[in-house]
């Protein structure tokens, strides 16, 4: 894999899978409230965090994402009652397995953000961006042709 130079202008690219009902609305709220957060995320809206296939996560990394964030409704608040709770089990395993094979834990993060938590969303993005920035560009699973 080629070594792209890491310079000061490098900004992490983070793919954020946000559930339609809570986290996407939370991101919307952060936006209309004019809250500042780093422009590092590329949002993919999904109907529910239960829609997340682990392949989405590794495909994002393979396509060159430096980090992946998945965010859904808080447990108990799922629009579909239990989508996020079933998903939580998957997420725990994915997170653990990726870390086990040696992918930095902060590359793939999971969180809960409700529709009313614009501030929480902004600080989540700030924090995840900072975590990923510290790690530098993601090269382990990025496909270089």
């Amino acid at each position: 894999m080629s070594e792209a130079p890491v310079n000061e202008s490098w900004e992490p690219k983070i793919v954020a899978f946000l559930c339609n009902w809570c986290s996407y609305a939370g991101a919307d709220l952060a936006g209309v409230s004019r809250m500042q957060y780093p422009p590092s995320i590329r949002v993919v809206r999904v109907p529910c965090s239960g829609r997340i296939n682990p392949l989405f996560i590794v495909s994002a990394l393979q396509s060159g994402a430096d980090g992946v964030l998945v965010s859904g409704c808080h447990p108990g608040d799922c629009h579909y009652l239990s989508g996020n709770l079933v998903a939580r089990r998957k997420f725990a395993l994915v997170k653990s397995l990726l870390a086990h094979v040696g992918i930095e834990t902060a590359r793939v993060q999971f969180s809960w953000v409700s529709a009313s938590e614009g501030g929480r969303f902004a600080s989540l993005i700030e924090q995840v961006t900072e975590d990923v920035r510290k790690l530098g560009p993601q090269r382990k699973l990025a496909k270089v042709l």
Partner: protein, 341 residues
């Protein structure tokens, strides 16, 4: 010079001399379980010649499992990526070397030359290592080969000299040129070594039980719809081990990979044993069942190849026998058809 002796201790010097010009590939350790594959070696110490055969055959050096055919940018071709480097392979078993002659037929014939294969083949020197200790799953003598055969190789090496000195025999013009080039390291072959070579060759061949496969093609052709196909392939798992390890299997896929607008068109090994291999976009599959897929594998090697190339495409290297997860032994399949009334 056709035949020459190399003292075992001089193998290092020979490898070093070759490496001045081209990388040397030879069987070398791979993984924790004692298996070997062909990879670049630096000295004789890296070379493992003790095992029956390498995990993967030599074909991958000429027909890599993944290779770029061309690069593109947007909707236009940007570069044709023909290989340019030459190589020398040392320690190829005669079964593998013989299979190269069939790959030559496939990639060089049919009215379309395959420049990628041909470029590599043209520039390479193949040094075969005679086989003194065939394994229990080896059957080269049943399919017209020999543990001391040199088909497909430029040179055959055997441990026929006194004190294990290596006897090099040129098998092609390239081989003769090689011996001339490195003449300083070699001593002339003596009569003793020549005699020892013959004795060892016949001893090695005797270590294998030969199957009588005469008339097999006719039997297979007549048994296309035989229930044996189903009966013999029930336990097949449908993986690609037999075909990927086979030195003569050459099926491939072509696929495009891109990131952004740029990408490569790559060729990669594929297997007739995979259900999707022949699947049409419409959903129709001409070989939907594993009995049809196994029939294809066996027929291609032992019947179709006879018609198109005049020889069976099986060198009896035994890899498919050894590595099949369910021990589906092609010798058993062949014998079952051969024994049909």
């Amino acid at each position: 010079m056709d035949k020459a002796l190399l003292q075992k201790k001089d193998l290092d010097a020979l490898l070093a001399a070759i490496r001045m010009r081209a990388p040397v590939y030879a069987p070398a350790r791979d993984g924790g379980d004692g298996g070997t594959v062909f990879r670049p070696v630096e000295s004789a110490a890296d070379v493992c010649l003790g095992q029956v055969n390498t995990r993967l055959s030599v074909k991958g050096l000429f027909f890599p499992q993944r290779e770029s055919l061309m690069k593109f940018s947007g909707s236009a071709l940007s570069e044709v990526t023909l290989p340019t480097d030459s190589l020398v392979v040392f320690g190829v078993r005669p079964c593998d070397a013989r299979s190269l002659t069939w790959l030559d037929t496939v990639f060089g014939g049919g009215g379309h030359e395959d420049p990628y294969f041909q470029e590599r083949r043209k520039s390479a020197v193949v040094i075969a290592m005679a086989c003194d200790q065939p394994g229990a799953s080896c059957f080269c003598t049943s399919v017209g080969g020999s543990p001391y055969g040199s088909d497909g190789a430029d040179m055959l090496v055997s441990q026929a000299g006194a004190d294990g000195a290596l006897l090099f025999e040129a098998a092609s013009e390239k081989g003769r040129a090689f011996l001339e080039e490195h003449a300083g390291l070699f001593a002339p072959a003596n009569a003793q070594a020549r005699e020892a070579r013959e004795a060892r060759a016949s001893a090695a061949a005797k270590k294998m039980e030969a199957l009588d496969l005469t008339g097999l093609k006719e039997k297979l052709d007549a048994a296309l719809d035989s229930p044996l196909w189903d009966a013999l392939t029930k336990t097949c798992l449908g993986c690609g081990v037999c075909t990927y390890l086979c030195p003569s299997c050459h099926c491939f896929d072509i696929s495009d990979e891109k990131s952004g607008a740029d990408g490569v068109r790559v060729r990669s090994w594929d297997s007739c044993q995979y259900a999707r291999f022949t699947l049409h976009a419409s959903g129709h599959n001409p070989r939907p069942l594993k009995k049809a897929r196994m029939r294809q594998r066996v027929m291609h090697k032992f019947s179709y190849a006879q018609e198109t190339a005049g020889t069976a495409f099986c060198s009896g290297c035994g890899r498919c026998v050894r590595a099949c997860p369910v021990n589906l032994d092609i010798r058993g399949i062949l014998t079952a058809f051969k024994d049909l009334p």
